[in-house]
């Protein structure tokens, strides 16, 4: 599984949604992505990529796109071109 597939799957698993919905998702756009669901999503990232995110980043991660950009720039996750 590529990193982008893993990343997308994290949303799918955390919120029980399909991959297409995940790609445009923003924080609190669906009931499942509340503050508790958010921690479940972070857990998925940390387990999938073997990282431990900083509290500030956990707060700032508020959309699919933002998370991808953050994991790439701050945690060195390569999502390809």
């Amino acid at each position: 599984m590529t990193n982008i597939e893993k990343y997308t799957q994290a949303f799918v698993d955390a919120f029980n949604i399909d991959a297409e919905t995940a790609k445009t998702l923003k924080f609190q756009q669906i009931p499942a992505w509340d503050s508790v669901g958010h921690m479940g999503l972070i857990a998925q990232f940390e387990d999938q990529f073997g990282i431990m995110m900083e509290p500030d980043d956990i707060v700032d991660l508020n959309s699919f796109e933002k998370g991808k950009e953050m994991l790439s720039s701050k945690y060195g996750i390569d999502f390809g071109a």
Partner: protein, 247 residues
């Protein structure tokens, strides 16, 4: 009582920490034992206990006020792929002084070690506990100084009150993840922390308890072991005073 459980204990080589190491090992727990610097004598003590009780005790050397080191320690534990069943925020420092004579730097250091270090450690450890089907248990070491007030311990007492308050809120926040958070507030206990107190002051403390004696580290360690155990599975958000009874 703690058979097969894995406990993360801070300040493991202090007076209280050693008693906890012993009590937890006797109860069957494995221990990640944080110490601030290499301590050969503690390592020997821990090895002997581990051998005697068939558990592992791993000293982890890092300074709790070093955020990066703390994070690395938690990541190292996560890499072991075993659950963290319990966390005991036992490490703490005491700086006494009347209000006018307490340097601000000392006051800040007290909060750094006694409040912010447990805060950060709980931030990291609870993220792992939240993913565990059985959650986890946290015990924070507060003090009677937090609730009764002690002359010369204005800031120390404030740090311990802050820790107790944080514990109560966290118990509410984390209950849904089966994470229990409790506090112990010891009275005057015979540890190196009180080595600077005069015998007359200690006598006064002794006589002010219902039981007419000072606490022993083992008195506190046994309560911590209980709070970590499944015997306390319906106990959370509490501050348990272990002080021999006081008015």
């Amino acid at each position: 009582m703690l058979k097969g459980k894995n406990i993360f204990l801070t300040g493991a080589d202090g007076g209280m920490g050693r008693a906890m190491t012993k009590a937890f090992a006797q109860a069957g727990a494995n221990i990640w034992a944080n110490v601030i610097r290499e301590n050969e004598e503690y390592s020997v003590f821990a090895e002997a206990l581990a051998l005697e009780h068939g558990v592992w005790i791993k000293p982890m050397v890092f300074d709790l006020t070093d955020g990066a080191a703390l994070k690395n320690a938690v990541m190292a534990i996560r890499a072991e792929k075993v659950p963290i069943d319990g966390l005991v925020n036992n490490a703490g420092i005491l700086r006494e002084g009347m209000l006018q004579m307490m340097p601000l730097a000392d006051a800040r250091l007290l909060f750094e070690v006694n409040f912010f270090a447990p805060f950060q450690l709980m931030q990291l450890v609870t993220r792992l506990m939240m993913r565990q089907p059985n959650g986890g248990a946290i015990v924070n070491m507060s003090s009677m100084a937090a609730f009764d007030g002690v002359e010369g311990e204005t800031v120390y007492g404030a740090t311990k009150a802050a820790l107790a308050s944080m514990s109560k809120s966290l118990a509410k926040e984390l209950g849904r993840f089966k994470i229990r958070v409790n506090c112990i507030a010891p009275g005057v206990t015979e540890t190196p922390l009180i080595s600077g107190m005069s015998e007359s002051v200690l006598n006064k403390d002794r006589e002010s308890t219902y039981l007419r004696r000072l606490g022993k580290p083992e008195d506190v360690a046994k309560v911590a072991a209980f709070l970590l155990s499944d015997d306390a599975q319906y106990v959370t958000g509490q501050v348990i005073r272990v002080d021999g009874g006081r008015n």
